[in-house]
Symmetry: C2
Subunit: 510 residues, 2 copies
C-alpha cells in the first residue's frame, strides 16, 4: 500500500521521524549549529501546549515571571562546589562588542572582554534562587510559586529536532516552601499536572514515577518523571519534577523567619517540560502518512478544502464553505471554540489534501460543487484515513448534520488516539522476566521494538546501584522510573538477589 | 497632600519612575549586568500585551515561528558590508564548555573554543532572511508573513528598567513581498496596528509617522514609528516598522520566480514592539500613588478586599465576597471576561489596599462585615482615587447594582485614562515657533517639561540634514517623526529657510 511518506516507521524509524517533521513543515535545520527553526505548524502546536499548560500552572497559584538569559559564571561555581556531575556544556559569553578585523570581517573586540564571563542559562535554579533570597523573608512569604516560559541552551554534540537541540523552549517552575512536606506536595502536584496534561491534551499515555538515584537532577533529593513509550518501543522522558531539599536554598541563601522567630532554610522544587513534548507527540501518534495531531493541541482542528475549478462556480462554492466555516467556528469541543480553517489557497485540491494529511489535521472536509449544491460535506478523519481496500475513506454527510456532530467527532478523535496509544503501550510492557540473562535475551537483536520491561528490584544505592546501571548499559538499557502508587511486590531483585521492594521500568530510551 | 509614593513626578521624574516600578512590584535589578527580573505584576501586564497584540498579528495572516537565539558572526559580516552605522554592541559566545580552574573556580575551556563565534541575536533580520531564502521560490509563496516572540540582547552601557535593558522581550515581524507596493502596504499595516493597539489597549495616545533619514534602522529604506508623550514631556518611541527595500533580500538571497519566469529580489519589512511599552504605560498613566493600569492590560481588573477580622464573622464575609467574585467573573468588559481577584491573604486591609493602589488595579472593592450584611460594596476607582478634600473616595453601592455596571465602569476607566493622556499630550504640543532661536528659547531651562514642538521643514537630506541634527543635538533635541496624513504646510523651513514641505515633531526623548 502506498503512503504519503517515503519512509515507513517499520523500515527506518529515525528516518521516518525526520521525514514527518519535514513533510508536516514543523521545523528545519537553521544553519546554526544545534539550533532549529520552528515553522508555523510546529510552533502552532507549541502555542497550544503553552496555552493549555499555562492555564494549569496559573490555576495552581503559580505566577509567571521572567529572569535573565545570562547567568554570571560565579553562580555556577557556587553550585559546582556542592554538585557532583555538574553539566558543563554551556554557551559562554566572553565579549560584548564586535569590531572590524581590517580585512572586511568582524571579530570580538579584545577591548570588550567581560571581566566575568556570562553563561547562557541551561536552567535557572541559580539566578531564580538569588531572586528568591530577596523575596522570601518570613513564613508569610511562603510558599513562593514562580514559573517562566523561556529559551535555554545546553551545548549538545548530537542533536535531533525537538528531542535534543542546543537551544530549546520550555517552562521552568521554581518554588520555595517552609518544609519538606509542603515542597513534596508541590513536587508531586507538578508531576501529576504533567501526567494528566500528557494524557488529556497530548493523548499520550505516560507513567509517572520516581527516577532512580543515578538519574536525579544534579543536587536534587528526588527526581520524578513522566515516561512515554514511543512507537519504536523506546522510552521518552517527557517532563520532570524535582524536590531539591535545602541544598539550593543554602547555596542561594533562601532563608525565612519562622513563626517562632528562628531562621530556617527553605525547601525548594523545580519542574519543567519543553518542546521535546512535540517529539513525543510525533512518535506517539504519527503514522506512515505523517503526523496525527490530537485535536486538543491542533492549531487547526478542521480544515475545509474547496475543490476550486477557477471558473464561475467558485464563488458559490466559496460562499458555501464560508458558511460552513462560520457554523463550525460557533461550535465548542474539548472546552474551547472549534478551530477551523478555510483553505482558499490556489493549487490542486489533492495536493492540498495530502499537505493537511501530513500535518495531521484531525478532520479534513473536501467540498466540491456537487457537495455545495446538495448541502453535503465529504469528511476525512485523519485517525482512520483508509478504507479496508486501501483507498482514502470519505464520509458523505449532510452539512447541518456534520456541524451538529463536529464536537463529538473531534472529541472522539482525541479519545481514539489516546486509546490506541494506551493499548499499544500496555501491550508492550513485559513482565515476568526474572534474571539478568533473561533480560538480555529479551532485548536481543531479534526483537527490534521490544518495548519496556517491568521488573521488581531491591532499590540498591551507591556502588550497588552503579553496578546495576553498568549491567544495563551493556544492554543499552536504562531504568526509566518507579511508578507511583504501584501494587506491592514480592520475590527477589533481578539484579541483587535481595528481597524486591518496588517495581521499575527498564527500556531503551531517547 | 500625602501620597503613597515617597517621590512625586514633579520633584524627580526619574526617581519617581524607579519608585513606581519597585512599589508596584513590576521588576527589579537582577544582579546580572543590564538584565532585569520581571516580577509577576510586570510580567502579567506583558502577558496581556502579548495576548492582545498576538491576536492582531494573527488576524493579519502573519504566522508565528521561532528562530535561533544564536547568529553566526559571518551573517553580520555580510550585513556590515552594506550597512553603515551597523551596531556592534552585542553579546558574543566564544566557548561551549566550562572546566575547573584547579582553584575551586570555573573557566571557559580553551579546548572548547568555537571555530566561529556566535552572536546572541540583537534582532533577527539576518537569520530569518536565510530561512526566507529557503522558503520563497515562486510568486505563489508571497507574501511570506512571519513573526516571533523572543528575547533579544543589545549590550547597553546605561540601562533603565523596561526602557533600555541589555536583554529585553519583544515581537519581531518579518515579511517578504513581490514588490515595493505590497511591502509598503505591510509596513504601514503594522504601523497602524501599533497605533491602534497603543490607543485602544494601552490607552496611550501616539503619533504615527515616518522617522527622518538619520533615524532609520540601518539598511532600511524607510522607518516609521509611533511616538508617545510621557508626563515629563519627553517622547518615547514605542514601536517601529521598517520598509527594507531589497537590500536585506540581496544579502540573504531571497529571490522568487515571477509569473513570467524571471528571477526577482523580494522586498522585505520588519516591525517590532517590546517590553519598552510597559515603560510607556508607567510614564503615561502613573501618578504619585503609583501605577494606574488601563483595564485592557490589567492582569486583575477588579480586586476584592475582604476586611477580615480573624473572628467568626470571616466565614460569612468570605462567602459574600466569593459570591461577588463569581458574579463579576461572569461579566464581560472590553470584549473579554472580567478578570477579578478575591484577595484572601492575611494582613491588614489598608496595607493590602495601598498595595493594590500602587499596582494600579482599576477597581478595588473593600468589603466589611456591615457591607456584607447590607448587600453593599465599597468601590475605589483608581483613576479618581481622592475626593476634593484629599481623602480616599469610596462609592457605596448595592452589590447587584455594582455587578450590573462593572462592565461600564471598567470601560469608563479605559476611556478616561485615554482621554486624560490625550488632553495632556495635545496641550503640550506647541506650534508657531518659526526660528532656531525661538526653539532654543522654548526649550530653555525655565521650562522643565516643555513638551513637543511641531515645526514645518523642508525635509533636508544628507549633509544638510546632518547639520539640522547637530543643531538640535546642541539643544538636546531630536526629530521624532513626520506624522502620517497631516495637513499640508506652507511657509519656510525653520532650519534651511527653504520652502517647508511637511511637519515634524521635535522633542527631548528617551
Amino acid at each position: 500500500m502506498k503512503h504519503a511518506l517515503n519512509v515507513t516507521r517499520e523500515a527506518d524509524f529515525a528516518a521516518w521521524y525526520q521525514e514527518v517533521i519535514a513533510e508536516a513543515e514543523m521545523a528545519e535545520e537553521s544553519g546554526v549549529r544545534g539550533c532549529m527553526v520552528i515553522k508555523p505548524w510546529g510552533y502552532g502546536i507549541w502555542e497550544r501546549i503553552q496555552t493549555l499548560m499555562d492555564a494549569r500552572i496559573k490555576a495552581a497559584g503559580v505566577q509567571n515571571c521572567y529572569f535573565p538569559l545570562f547567568i554570571p559564571l560565579s553562580y555556577f561555581a557556587e553550585e559546582a562546589e556542592h554538585v557532583e556531575g555538574f553539566a558543563k556544556e554551556m554557551a559562554v559569553v566572553t565579549h560584548h562588542r564586535l569590531i572590524s578585523d581590517g580585512k572586511g570581517g568582524l571579530v570580538p573586540d579584545p577591548e570588550a572582554k567581560l571581566e566575568e564571563p556570562l553563561i547562557v542559562r541551561p536552567t535557572s535554579e541559580t539566578v531564580i534562587g538569588k531572586a528568591m533570597s530577596r523575596w522570601v523573608q518570613s513564613w508569610r512569604d511562603l510558599p513562593l510559586l514562580t514559573n517562566q516560559w523561556a529559551n535555554v541552551v545546553r551545548w549538545e554534540m548530537r542533536t535531533r529536532m525537538f528531542l535534543r537541540t542546543s537551544e530549546f523552549l520550555w517552562q521552568e517552575g521554581h518554588t520555595a516552601h517552609a518544609d519538606r512536606d509542603d515542597a513534596m506536595v508541590e513536587t508531586l502536584r507538578a508531576l501529576e499536572m504533567y501526567r494528566s496534561f500528557s494524557e488529556d491534551c497530548l493523548a499520550m499515555p505516560v507513567i509517572a514515577g520516581e527516577k532512580p538515584e543515578n538519574e536525579r537532577f544534579p543536587g536534587a533529593v528526588a527526581t520524578y518523571s513522566i515516561e512515554a513509550m514511543m512507537q519504536d518501543g523506546k522510552a521518552l522522558q517527557a517532563g520532570t519534577s524535582h524536590y531539591l531539599g535545602t541544598g539550593f536554598a543554602e547555596a542561594a541563601g533562601i532563608r525565612y523567619q519562622d513563626r517562632e522567630g528562628g531562621q530556617q532554610l527553605c525547601h525548594t522544587t523545580s519542574w519543567g517540560v519543553s518542546t521535546r513534548m512535540i517529539g513525543g507527540v510525533i512518535m506517539t501518534h504519527g503514522d506512515d502518512d505523517g503526523l496525527r495531531v490530537p485535536p486538543a493541541i491542533a492549531p487547526h482542528q478542521i480544515v475545509i478544502l474547496p475543490m476550486l475549478r477557477e471558473d464561475d462556480g467558485d464563488a458559490a462554492l466559496l460562499a458555501y464553505c464560508e458558511e460552513l466555516r462560520a457554523a463550525l467556528a460557533q461550535q465548542w469541543a474539548l472546552g474551547e471554540p472549534v478551530r477551523v480553517l478555510l483553505d482558499k489557497r490556489a493549487g490542486k485540491a489533492t495536493n492540498k489534501r495530502w499537505g493537511w494529511v501530513k500535518k495531521g489535521v484531525p478532520l479534513i472536509l473536501e467540498i466540491g460543487g456537487r457537495d455545495a449544491a446538495g448541502g453535503q460535506v465529504s469528511v476525512i478523519r485523519r485517525d482512520r484515513l483508509y478504507r479496508e481496500d486501501g483507498k482514502v475513506q470519505f464520509a458523505a454527510m449532510a452539512k447541518d448534520g456534520f456541524v451538529a456532530q463536529a464536537t463529538a467527532e473531534l472529541e472522539d478523535v482525541q479519545r481514539t488516539l489516546h486509546a490506541e496509544a494506551t493499548a499499544r503501550r500496555d501491550a508492550n510492557i513485559h513482565r515476568g522476566i526474572d534474571s539478568l540473562d533473561a533480560l538480555g535475551k529479551f532485548f536481543g537483536e531479534d526483537q527490534r521494538y521490544p518495548g519496556w520491561v517491568e521488573l521488581a528490584w531491591s532499590r540498591p544505592t551507591g556502588d550497588a546501584l552503579e553496578q546495576v546501571v553498568q549491567q544495563l548499559k551493556a544492554l543499552k538499557l536504562t531504568i526509566r522510573n518507579t511508578p507511583m502508587d504501584a501494587a506491592p511486590v514480592s520475590g527477589q531483585c533481578v539484579f541483587t538477589g535481595q528481597p524486591a521492594v518496588e517495581r521499575i521500568y527498564v527500556a531503551r530510551s531517547y
